[in-house]
């Protein structure tokens, strides 16, 4: 059987994408108290995928860039770790806010996370805040998550997660494990009972609770696995 492109393989891919969407949409939410472990478990799965991709890389392979402007595997991983740090800060803020009681949402703007989508300059994005907020009311979180997972629309990362060109591969491996542990640590022990009601809103990302944010960063990490695999498959990749 050929695994190359064919109508049959395109049909199968469509089957998979639609089935995953429906599967996520109808998934029974975890019972109270298990939300965090379930969300973290999915995220851990994505990180294990990242670790598998960089486990045997040499420094030369880690730094290889297939073309100007295309990230190396090292840059991809650094970007993932910076993204995790960005959201870890927000998780910490949400936990602190939940502990105080009262407010249940942290509203971020493009000043906090200046992400963008293809062909739209960062400076223009704030002008789209209102239409994007309206759009997000009608788009289920799972559809947004799928948009993160499937690179149909290219995205522009926030400045805060812009990776520097070179990183020690040994350091990246250690930080990939340590960073996940640090995120997991936030959800250990006694957590405010109203934490499940807390949300983070952003014009482009919509309004999401903590498991939904984990869903987004898991999908984001899986999307970068594809980018990293394309670097690995490049004919000029150092063997």
């Amino acid at each position: 059987m050929s695994e190359g492109f064919s109508l049959a393989s395109a049909g199968r891919a469509l089957d998979g994408a639609l089935s995953r969407l429906v599967n996520d949409l109808v998934a029974v939410p975890p019972p109270a108290g298990q939300e965090w472990s379930a969300a973290l478990s999915k995220y851990r799965g994505a990180r294990e995928g990242t670790m598998a991709l960089i486990r045997d890389l040499t420094q030369e392979q880690c730094d290889f860039t297939p073309a100007p402007g295309v990230w190396s595997i090292g840059q991809n991983v650094e970007h993932l770790l910076l993204t995790e740090r960005l959201y870890r800060t927000q998780f910490r803020n949400l936990i602190a806010l939940a502990g105080k009681g009262g407010e249940s949402n942290i509203a971020l703007t493009f000043e906090h996370i200046d992400t963008s989508i293809a062909f739209i300059p960062r400076d223009v994005m704030p002008l789209l805040t209102i239409p994007l907020n309206i759009f997000n009311v009608f788009v289920p979180g799972i559809v947004r998550e799928t948009m993160f997972r499937i690179p149909l629309i290219s995205a522009v990362n926030p400045t805060a997660s812009n990776p520097a060109p070179y990183h020690s591969v040994t350091d990246l491996r250690a930080r990939a494990i340590a960073s996940l542990a640090e995120t997991g640590e936030l959800f250990r022990g006694d957590l405010p009972s109203n934490l499940r009601n807390m949300t983070l809103s952003h014009p482009l990302l919509g309004t999401n609770n903590i498991p939904e944010i984990f869903g987004i960063i898991t999908a984001h990490e899986e999307r970068h696995h594809g980018q990293m695999r394309r670097v690995l498959e490049n004919p000029r990749f150092p063997r």
Binding site: M1, E3, A8, G11, R12, A13, L14, D15, G16, L18, S19, R20, V22, N23, L25, V26, A27, V28, P29, P30, P31, A32, Q34, S41, K42, R44, G45, A46, E48, G49, A52, V137, P140, G141, I142, E222, H225, G226, R229
Partner: protein, 354 residues
């Protein structure tokens, strides 16, 4: 906005619309669409159907008892949903999930299918999009161990068969690789895998609509995707099984499938799928006296449709219920029908799968 609940409402509306349309339009398509939607809704929204409380996890036998209050046909998909729901929420690591003797024997097929689907889905989601060969093999071994640790003795095959269904539905890019990896571990697991793939082909989005030659398309896909003759037989048997069981209360749907089945010239696989589904129905709903007899009654006259019905359904089913079913039930080996076999005479028990 609760998108899950809204989607459930939409499914219910679609099902009711199909029900109304089935009275107005000729043919089996609307009835079949309604049956498919109902099977999926009962499985995916079992928590709503059985009004399962969210604040605490009820014991599994209590959930199964609730499902027994539903109609015969609804019950089998709801119990599969219960198995899926319960396995998904059970604390990890879980053992002995379905080994409680309080659980009725007639719920075993559905519970093992649901549990296997849940375990396979979880394992696959943790593999990432493109696992290495070693990671895939490790994942499958973990899945097999988990099924072995939680299946009731004699039901292991029933629990691992949904692996193929989960892969084909949610991770179809792994279809060939996972089948080969399963076969490297255990050739029987490969057969069960392709049976599960066949079952999934009845529900995947490209075949979900019941119009436009969906039966022919699904059969063709089963044949094209499976790499070996044995795998093809299992995929076709699995697909035919799903059509038979989902539409069991409406035999005309199976009747409409038979001309397409006849054209692929794989009578053994088709008969196996039909009879296996009838065997598990008899096991799951032993008290049924309404529907099963319809499949044991010869069609009169000499029409082509009647001939196919007698050849593919009635004769093999009568034979199986006369000899194989009593033996399989007596030996607690109903799960052995989850793969294609030349004959339903029970093969020798494999101790490793007990």
């Amino acid at each position: 906005m609760d998108y899950r609940a809204n989607f459930g409402t939409v499914l219910g509306l679609m099902q009711r619309s199909a029900q109304v349309m089935s009275f107005l339009l000729p043919g089996h398509e609307m009835q079949e669409a309604q049956n498919k939607l109902e099977a999926f809704r009962l499985f995916a929204y079992v928590d709503q159907e059985l009004r399962i409380p969210t604040e605490r996890l009820l014991p599994l036998d209590a959930l199964v008892r609730r499902a027994f209050d539903l109609g015969h046909h609804e019950r089998i998909f709801a119990i599969e949903g219960v198995g899926h729901y319960y396995a998904g929420l059970a604390a990890s690591p879980v053992t002995g999930l379905l080994q409680d003797r309080q659980l009725p024997d007639c719920a075993m097929v559905s519970l093992h299918a649901g549990m296997g689907t849940s375990f396979a889905g979880t394992m696959l989601s943790r593999l990432g999009a493109d696992p290495s060969k070693a990671a895939l093999r490790d994942g499958l071994l973990r899945f097999f161990d988990l099924c072995r640790d939680n299946a009731r003795p004699g039901w292991y095959e029933n629990a691992i068969e949904p692996l193929g269904l989960s892969v084909r539905t949610l991770h179809p890019h792994l279809l060939a690789r996972a089948g080969a990896a399963a076969g490297e571990i255990d050739i029987e697991a490969q057969r069960l895998y392709w049976h599960g793939v066949g079952r999934s082909l009845y529900f995947v989005p490209m075949n979900f609509m019941t119009f436009g030659g969906s039966h022919e398309r699904a059969l063709r896909t089963a044949i094209d995707e499976a790499p070996t003759v044995e795998d093809r037989r299992n995929a076709v048997a699995g697909l035919v099984w799903a059509v038979t069981l989902v539409n069991l209360c409406h035999p005309r749907v199976l009747q409409s499938l038979l001309p397409a089945c006849n054209s692929i010239r794989m009578p053994g696989a088709v008969k196996n799928g039909i009879v296996s589904a009838l065997i598990v129905w008899k096991h799951m709903v032993p008290e049924d006296t309404e529907f099963l007899p319809l499949y044991l009654q010869h069609a009169s006259g000499s029409s082509m449709d009647g001939g196919l019905w007698n050849d593919y359904v009635v004769d093999p089913a009568r034979e199986a219920f006369a000899a194989a079913f009593p033996a399989l039930a007596k030996e607690d080996r109903i799960a052995s029908v989850f793969q294609f076999q030349e004959s339903f005479v029970p093969p020798v028990t494999k101790a490793s799968h007990a």
